[in-house]
């Protein structure tokens, strides 16, 4: 138990220290804009298709489940509001962050861990170049820029998935007008912004954890694999854990 607590505190401390290092290099950000753009492409642009597919089916299944229950009460018109709120406040930010952990954080950890194991990180230091400045800072800035876009895209596609199912599944048979009116009547701008804030927090820390896990890797190729697994698992646990507290704070 003591060992687990010690490891947890050590890992937490390493993440905080890494964040501190990154903040120290913030004035160098203008010179890292090229890398920020590159990582925006890697983190954001290439993640859009998978976020779209996942979000569409999450919205669709949610509409299917709620539609099946609500049609027995004759309350199908509430599907829009239920899908709208669930997707915007919860499912879109959480699922987008999960995808980020699975697709981007794993690749980030693998890249940095392999650079660490093969001494490329040491080489950077001996060239008087801080790895935190060129490898971590641009990634964190990029994720802060693209995460709201990804979450917003996920919200909209999730709503669309719900609408398609509501319209074409025979036992629901809800017209698009009623679906969208129900959704708009219940939704507020705050519901969407709360979701975007969640997504921003999840994305930032998932990438920070991924970078920390990569840079802390020691050993050989086997440890690179372990680091990737750890990065994804810790990232996902972080998302679920903080989701509860952010939701409590937002309600």
């Amino acid at each position: 138990m003591f060992q687990i607590a010690k490891r947890f505190l050590g890992g937490f401390g390493y993440n905080v220290a890494l964040l501190g290092q990154v903040l120290r290099h913030l004035p160098a950000l203008p010179r890292q804009l090229g890398r920020v753009v590159q990582y925006c492409g890697e983190i954001g642009y290439k993640t859009f298709p998978i976020v779209g597919i996942l979000s569409f089916f999450i919205g669709a299944v949610l509409a299917l489940q709620t539609g099946f229950a609500l049609q027995q009460l004759g309350a199908q018109s509430f599907i829009g509001s239920i899908v709208g709120l669930s997707v915007a406040r919860e499912l879109a930010p959480v699922m987008t962050a999960f995808l980020l952990a699975g697709r981007v954080a794993s690749a980030t950890t693998a890249e940095l861990a392999s650079m660490k194991v093969y001494q490329e990180i040491d080489a950077l230091r001996t060239m008087h170049i801080a790895p935190e400045k060129i490898l971590v800072l641009p990634r964190l800035v990029a994720v802060l820029l693209v995460m709201p876009l990804l979450t917003m895209f996920s919200i909209f596609i999730g709503w669309l998935g719900g609408q398609v199912v509501s319209e074409f599944v025979s036992f629901i048979g809800l017209s698009p007008n009623i679906y969208w009116r129900g959704l708009m009547d219940f939704m507020t701008v705050e519901d969407v912004t709360d979701g975007l804030v969640k997504g921003e927090i999840f994305g930032f820390f998932v990438i920070l954890i991924a970078c920390a896990q990569g840079l802390a890797t020691r050993g050989g190729p086997r440890e690179i694999g372990f680091a990737v697994t750890r990065s994804v698992v810790i990232g996902m646990i972080f998302i679920l854990f903080t989701d509860y507290f952010i939701t409590r704070a937002q309600l």
């Binding site: 040491d122 230091r125 008087h128």
Partner: protein, 268 residues
């Protein structure tokens, strides 16, 4: 952030002083009471068997590891301060090269000046081109590190440090895993770089031939302690018994077996 140490001159080689150095990892002490001095422009060899602490000493000199006790100073400035290394442009040739695997050889060499913006792209191209020519690597410019032989990787690693125009150049096992001809080529390069660039060089090696051929002075490490120090002749003579014990005589090839092809050494 500590202030940048004053630099004597951008061109003069530097002096390295190590005093009562001790490096520990947890409860294990790897280096004990190490003291020596490397004079400006000198080639100083640190020799010893595997596990004697050579690489740890080198990593402490370059600031990658912090001493547990004692001090390392470069031109009188604390080696733990990254600004010291930036001021003297210290550089390390890693044992395995530590090349950036996702960049071509050209981009590996251009990385430092691009990041530090020490020159414009046209000047960088010229400088990198000259360095590649100096080490006979022109044909490798567009290749990636994974496409290079061991000898070429070593030469690219040296070339990458030369682009930095270092005043202190550290080599970690520069001839390990190389055939005798390529090892001779690398030792020739180290010697000529000192002659041409007046750089202070510290070479870590367990290659007795390399030490004999290039060192001005050397130390012999054994279990983290200096057991002999002086000129190569003095050290090798005084420690012959220890050396024979540590280094299998078979690996010390006195004469290159490929003498006929010395003019154009084969890649390992």
């Amino acid at each position: 952030m500590p202030p940048a140490p004053p630099s004597k001159s951008e061109d003069t080689p530097v002096r390295v002083e190590v005093e009562d150095l001790e490096v520990s990892f947890g409860k294990t002490t790897v280096l004990h009471d190490i003291s020596f001095q490397v004079d400006p422009g000198e080639i100083f060899v640190i020799m010893g068997p595997s596990g004697s602490g050579k690489s740890v000493l080198l990593r402490t000199l370059i600031g990658l590891l912090a001493p547990s006790k004692g001090s390392v100073t470069i031109d009188g400035q604390d080696a733990r301060n990254p600004r010291t290394h930036e001021a003297v442009k210290s550089a390390l040739v890693f044992q395995a090269g530590a090349l950036f695997n996702s960049l071509s050889v050209y981009d590996n060499l251009a990385f430092y000046p691009r990041e530090h913006r020490t020159a414009r792209e046209a000047e960088i191209r010229k400088k990198v081109g000259e360095t590649l020519r100096m080490l006979s690597l022109e044909d490798a410019a567009d290749k990636f590190p994974s496409e290079l032989s061991g000898g070429m990787r070593k030469r690219v690693a040296i070339a990458r440090t030369l682009v930095m125009e270092p005043r202190l150049l550290l080599y970690d096992e520069p001839t390990s895993e190389l055939d005798p001809v390529m090892a001779a080529t690398i030792s020739e390069i180290i010697g000529s770089l000192r002659a041409e660039l007046q750089v202070t060089s510290v070479v870590v090696s367990h290659d007795r031939d390399l030490a004999q051929s290039i060192a001005d002075r050397m130390i012999l490490l054994e279990e983290g302690r200096i057991v002999a120090a002086g000129t190569p002749a003095e050290v090798l003579e005084s420690s012959e018994a220890s050396i024979q014990q540590f280094f299998h005589p078979d690996i010390n090839v006195q004469q290159p077996r490929y003498r006929a092809s010395l003019s154009k050494p084969p890649e390992s």
